[in-house]
């Protein structure tokens, strides 16, 4: 076949999808929209070992950054709690606040890690289909069931209990220290329009634990996107904007660029979010109304703003956390719920890698700052205010931020424009239980296929979603290859 597979987007998922197809002998053309202005940013997320191995990413310059301590948690009374990958060090640090919590920390980490290993296995393939009758589906289900059972009684019980509960319920069972629960609870609400008392946030906590060693509850960052973009084997069209996907007789046949150029395609895989792919890029008429309705109700409420600061002096790799307690996180969510920017948001400040250009730079995750405001709109004034608030809150705990300069504030509005995230939601579809696994983003689309033959979804809105770099793309490629030229 002479036409290439056209991949829309050049994120990690899209690039992994592209390379997987190229390795299988397909001609692949990646349409890369304009680069985000701060494209130097490192990509957060665990890279499944299969992807590292398949593309020998190590040899091509992959560097993974894990600050250690992985969290320096500001304490309300001054000082900080440092949580490290080294169990003993964390225990010692926690003991200063609560001997009881310190004693429980290793067991908690061990039990969470065991569940994370199970989740890693589930994430290593397309989502299981609990109703599937094909041998492949039944085998996959059986393998997961077997793995789950191998967790033992306690593991199975932990799993069943953990899935639906709130991060607050989980953490309250284990710990008493607000700062510790705040720092862990923050991972439970990461990118989610939820508070730590909402069900499903314990699952989100586990999701962000995947791929990390026991006792580390933040995903690593890496230059994986950069490395993948540099690998040979695919054609990369930079700076091209996709206007629409051409469909003939129910089959995707081309991609039309904003310039008007039409590129014939054997298959199309879109890394854009599912709603945009199927209702904006493709003609919505191909969706039956029930599916369209379901897709329109996929929750993708952005609640995170990104504030970039410049420090006078680089302070080395750090991850500073301001999340004093679960109640504080919950209050921040209350604000988002009613369309207000929280005045006491959860902050996580991560420094740029040592030695990198602009190494005084610190990027701050600010949650909750909702996409849709009840009153007014995101404007320069609001952004400035948020930047100043961020500096003020950080400098209260970390003196070197007093002189920090706000270089850029991206509200969910700007994140939407810059990165194409729907409503500024980095996960495309919030990672809630009803939007996970075989229901991600909606059950009818969970297997990366769409009602339009030859059109596939390969972005963060697909299983396993954001936080697992490239997995959705890899699984999508698998399905494309499985369909072969049948479609």
């Amino acid at each position: 076949m002479s036409e290439p597979v056209v991949i829309i987007g050049s994120g990690v998922n899209e690039l992994v999808c592209a390379h997987r197809l190229a390795r299988a002998g397909r001609r692949v053309l990646v349409i890369a929209a304009r680069e985000p202005r701060d494209g130097s940013l490192l990509e957060p997320g665990w890279i499944p070992p299969a992807i590292v191995r398949d593309f020998s990413l190590d040899r091509h310059g992959l560097t993974i950054h894990r600050p250690d301590p992985w969290a320096t948690v500001a304490l309300p009374g001054g000082g900080a709690l440092e949580l490290s990958s080294d169990m003993e060090r964390s225990v010692t640090a926690i003991r200063r606040l609560s001997p009881r919590d310190a004693e429980r920390w290793p067991a908690f980490c061990e039990r969470m890690a065991r569940l994370a290993r199970l989740l890693e296995a589930v994430y290593a393939a397309a989502p299981p289909d609990p109703l599937g009758r094909a041998p492949r589906d039944v085998l996959q289900l059986a393998a997961i069931a077997l793995r789950a059972r191998r967790l033992g009684r306690q593991g199975v019980e932990d799993l069943l209990r953990l899935l639906p509960i709130s991060a607050a319920d989980l953490l309250d069972d284990w710990f008493e220290t607000d700062a510790l629960k705040g720092a862990l609870g923050a991972a439970g609400i990461l990118h989610l329009a939820r508070g730590p008392r909402s069900g499903g946030t314990a699952f989100n906590l586990l999701h962000h634990h995947v791929g990390s060693p026991p006792g580390v509850f933040r995903p690593p960052r890496s230059n994986v996107r950069h490395v993948l973009a540099g690998l040979p084997g695919i054609e990369l069209r930079r700076g091209a904007e996709v206007a629409r996907i051409g469909v003939r007789d129910g089959r995707a046949t081309s991609v039309v660029l904003a310039s008007g150029e039409e590129i014939a395609a054997a298959h199309v895989a879109s890394g854009a979010d599912p709603l945009r792919t199927l209702t904006v890029l493709a003609d919505p008429k191909w969706l039956d109304p029930d599916l369209a309705r379901a897709l329109r109700h996929v929750r993708s409420r952005g609640v995170v703003a990104r504030v970039s600061l410049m420090l006078e002096r680089p302070a080395g790799p750090r991850a500073l956390v301001v999340a004093p307690s679960l109640d504080d996180l919950e209050h921040a969510y209350d604000d988002a719920k009613y369309g207000r920017v929280s005045q006491h948001p959860y902050l996580e400040a991560v420094s740029a890698a040592d030695g990198a250009a602009g190494s005084g730079r610190v990027d701050v995750h600010v949650q909750c700052a909702p996409y849709a405001l009840a009153q007014g709109a995101w404007d320069d004034g609001r952004r400035l205010e948020l930047g100043n608030l961020t500096v003020k809150m950080l400098s209260r705990h970390f003196p070197d931020f007093e002189a920090a300069v706000v270089t850029r504030v991206l509200s969910p509005r700007e994140l939407e424009v810059e990165y194409g995230w729907p409503e500024g939601q980095a996960c495309h579809a919030e990672l809630a239980l009803d939007q996970a696994l075989w229901m991600r983003p909606v059950p009818a689309l969970a297997r990366y296929r769409t009602p339009i033959r030859g059109l596939y979804l390969c972005g963060a809105g697909m299983h396993p979603g954001a936080g697992v770099a490239g997995a959705a793309g890899a699984h999508a490629a698998q399905e494309i290859l499985r369909d072969g030229d049948r479609t």
């Binding site: 919505p284 008429k285 191909w286 109304p289 029930d290 369209a292």
Partner: protein
């Protein structure tokens, strides 16, 4: 609190039977007279006037109006000329019928859709991204059906529009006395007839005008019981009775495709897309599993069954609407959903869902009948619909 129709003031006055029933949240007459028989015969011999206002009516307007309806209906709406009326079902994504009704192209970008069930949400959900407005005019639009051989003469007295040139399944704007109406050459009786669509506030004078002009011709207000017999003779199916709309089906087995309802002729597979097309294309290739056909019960066989218990055959005067098993040999091959005695044809008729292999016209089957508390099977033959199809219907 049920709704009344715009004609209620008049229909209540003539409804001496006090036999009312519900139709889409309204009260309407089952029959006006003590028996519906004369009302039925008016349909076939003079003219019957039906209040059909409870139908759901939607006005679809805008640049993409044709595109919207073309994407929903199985028929080729985009190809309709102004003044055409199309009978069409519409389906869900599985190709199962949601509802059936008519689409009238009133102007290049204006359509009126009639439906048995509310469909606003379905229209809106399909209209995403289209330049179209959908207005529910069910309440504001009154509707009458004037059906029967004398209907043209009666109506012609009240309008200057030449009704002989209004062909079958065409619609025209007209003045009926001083009132603006639209008149369509359509109906649910299988006879010559018209449907008149008007503003709610003109309902009473229009009714009065029709009665006045029609009285010399034997116009008779008629209720749902008379209509039911006529539509069975005409082989026309009724939603909720002959088929379960997919939206209300509790299990997939309750749903039917247009092919299974024997209205496969409405499915325009040449269109690039409409809701349910992929499923219907597949079904067209495979052939439908079911057929909706006519059934004529053999009178001699029925008479014999009655004779065995010492009775003469007796049938209720009104059509029935229950599910009755149909057999081929010893095996159940389907079920009849409506049936009754045709006073005109002097035949016992039924409409039935049959497995395709038993649905060829002429196939000999048996239908269950209950005679003197005992279930029996009477011989029946698959018949072509419509059972009654007069020249005048289309002429």
């Amino acid at each position: 609190m049920l709704k009344t129709t715009p004609f209620h003031e008049r229909t209540a006055r003539v409804c001496v039977s006090h036999a009312w029933r519900r139709w889409a949240g309204h009260i309407v007459a089952s029959s006006y007279e003590l028996s519906h028989e004369r009302e039925y015969h008016a349909i076939r011999s003079a003219a019957a006037l039906f209040d059909i206002s409870p139908l759901y009516k939607y006005l679809v307007r805008g640049r993409d109006a044709a595109r919207l309806l073309d994407g929903i209906a199985t028929r080729n709406v985009a190809g309709a000329r102004v003044g055409d009326v199309l009978y069409t079902p519409w389906c869900d994504a599985a190709g199962k019928v949601l509802d059936d009704g008519t689409v009238a192209r009133l102007a290049e970008d204006t359509f009126r859709l009639t439906a048995a069930d509310p469909n606003l949400r379905w229209l809106q959900d399909n209209a995403t991204g289209l330049e179209v407005t959908i207005e529910d005019v069910s309440e504001s639009t009154a509707a009458l059906a004037l059906q029967g051989p004398a209907s043209r003469q009666i109506l012609q007295q009240l309008t200057d529009t030449d009704l002989t040139s209004l062909k079958y399944f065409r619609i025209t704007a007209a003045r009926l006395r001083e009132f603006s109406v639209t008149i369509s050459r359509t109906g649910y009786t299988g006879d010559l007839g018209y449907e008149i669509w008007l503003e709610r506030e003109h309902a009473i004078p229009v009714w009065d005008a029709l009665i006045e002009a029609g009285t010399p011709y034997g116009i008779t207000p008629a209720g749902m019981l008379a209509l039911d017999i006529a539509r069975i003779e005409a082989g026309l199916m009724l939603i909720d009775v002959d088929y379960v709309p997919a939206r209300k089906a509790l299990i997939p087995a309750q749903t039917s495709s247009p092919f299974e309802l024997d209205i496969g002729w409405t499915v325009s597979l040449e269109k690039e897309h409409f809701v349910g097309k992929p499923a219907l294309a597949e079904e067209a290739r495979r052939g439908p599993a079911w057929r909706f056909t006519g059934l004529e019960i053999e009178w001699d066989a029925l008479e014999r069954l009655y004779d065995e218990v010492g009775l003469a055959p007796r049938l209720p005067a009104a059509a029935w609407r229950t599910s009755v098993p149909v057999y081929a040999g010893g095996e159940q091959v389907g079920y009849a959903t409506s049936g009754g005695w045709s006073p005109l044809l002097k035949k016992y008729l039924a409409l039935a869902h049959l497995r395709s292999r038993s649905a060829a016209p002429g196939t000999r089957l048996e239908m269950e009948v209950t005679i003197e508390h005992r279930r029996k099977r009477a011989g029946a033959r698959v018949a072509k619909k419509p059972f009654f199809n007069p020249e005048r219907k289309r002429a």
